[in-house]
């Protein structure tokens, strides 16, 4: 193994990459929560057509690679003369992809609350919205939190797809620095540690939460 001081000269590349990874993940998290909620509502809708659209969305985007979805925005749209930045293309691709997984987690959570509870609260005089708000969602929330946390970890890891389209994320920085310093494994080791700084606390938190929620029920 080489000398870590060689990497010090590239401090700015690593800082920029780290911040890009963080901001892409955060932006995609917010967007994919929005997408996921909308799609989950469609899937749970009583209207056949809406339910079908929700299901088609989930199945299509879960079963095709993230890389292809990101390429659609990074290469496909420019081929129609619509140029968007690599960062935006990556963030949108990530949101669309992760949205499908979040929609499934939300749907599974809401459906795990027995039907009888909705019927009981409706017949006690609550409106649909009230029964959702006070009876169904608080219970669904507990079930949904661990899988949502896992999606959050996956999102951070998957944001490395930005490196493929030169999106300037942490892994892109690793690629640039390693090809300039020829300290390949040293750079990878350093970048791996930076990823773990984000993902390990997240995974650990999810595990703890999962255990606490399991004990409560």
């Amino acid at each position: 193994m080489g000398d870590f001081s060689l990497l010090a000269a590239y401090k700015q590349e690593f800082i920029d990459g780290f911040l890009t990874t963080l901001s892409a993940s955060l932006l995609a998290l917010v967007l994919s929560l929005c997408v996921g909620t909308i799609i989950a509502c469609l899937r749970l809708s009583q209207v056949q057509l809406l339910e079908w659209i929700g299901t088609a969305y989930v199945e299509f985007f879960r079963n095709t690679p993230l890389v292809i979805q990101v390429f659609f925005f990074a290469m496909g749209l420019p081929s129609l003369g619509w140029n968007i930045s690599e960062f935006t293309a990556g963030a949108i691709g990530l949101s669309i992809y992760t949205g499908a997984f979040i929609a499934e987690a939300l749907r599974a959570g809401i459906q795990s609350v027995p039907r009888g509870q909705m019927e009981a609260s409706r017949s006690s005089g609550m409106t649909y919205i009230q029964s959702m708000r006070y009876v169904i969602l608080p219970q669904a929330f507990k079930i949904v939190i661990p899988p949502l946390g896992n999606q959050c970890v996956n999102l951070v890891k998957n944001s490395s797809v930005l490196a493929i389209i030169a999106g300037g994320d942490l892994l892109y920085a690793a690629d640039t620095v390693s090809s300039q310093t020829f300290q390949i494994n040293l750079t990878y080791l350093f970048v791996a540690a930076l990823y773990l700084v984000i993902t390990l606390p997240l995974s650990f938190g999810v595990n703890q939460l999962e255990r606490r929620l399991a004990r409560q029920s």
């Binding site: 199945e59 299509f60 879960r62 079963n63 095709t64 690679p65 993230l66 890389v67 292809i68 979805q69 390429f71 659609f72 290469m75 496909g76 420019p78 081929s79 129609l80 970890v153 890891k157 998957n158 944001s159 490395s160 797809v161 490196a163 493929i164 892994l171 690793a174 690629d175 390693s178 390949i184 494994n185 990878y188 970048v191 791996a192 990823y195 773990l196 993902t199 390990l200 995974s203």
Partner: protein, 217 residues
Amino acid sequence: MDFANAFDPTNLTFLLQGFLVTLKIAFFAILLSFVLGIVLGICRYTKLPVLSHLAALYIELIRNLPLLLVIFFGYFGLREWGIKLPVTMSVIVSMTLFTSALVAEIVRSGLNSVDRGLIEASRAQGFTYIQTLRFLVLPLGLKRTIPPMVSQFISLIKDTSLAVVISLPEMTHNAQIIYNKHFNATIPILLIVACLYFVVNYSLSLASRRLEKKLVG
């Protein structure tokens, strides 16, 4: 949009050649990570002091890193250490290293889900620890791992597309070559590629759902 070039027979054949490489890589990586994952999962499940800690360390580190970083390591990183694998081999190695950690976690939680009372009963009947593991915990526990295992393998098939970064001649890479030549055909080609991935992955997920229903009854 240029549909003529996208559906040109030479281009389609070229895509399908890539598709075969995708399937070949996925097949070997699935096979290897299945075996390695079960071994790691059992190491983690048995509370053997050193073995289970080493397995835990490996699993936690690898599953919190981006696969793309592992792919970079498996190609450029190993090269730096003098291990010059051909690109196909290197992708199989990287994907196996990564997926086996995730399979191990699935195996561990499957084995943990086997009822304690059953294990105690079997020990009380005079079965040794190994016999209990072999005849009770493994058959019961592994059955429950089928659905999450299949979705992990679907992820693997999708993730072979990440190997575009090291120019593995798989489907996504071949698609890139075609639309770099015929820029206006980018979107149609990405759609064809997405559909091919979808057909394989969706059939797998349908099969896994059917199998699950049959096993659970």
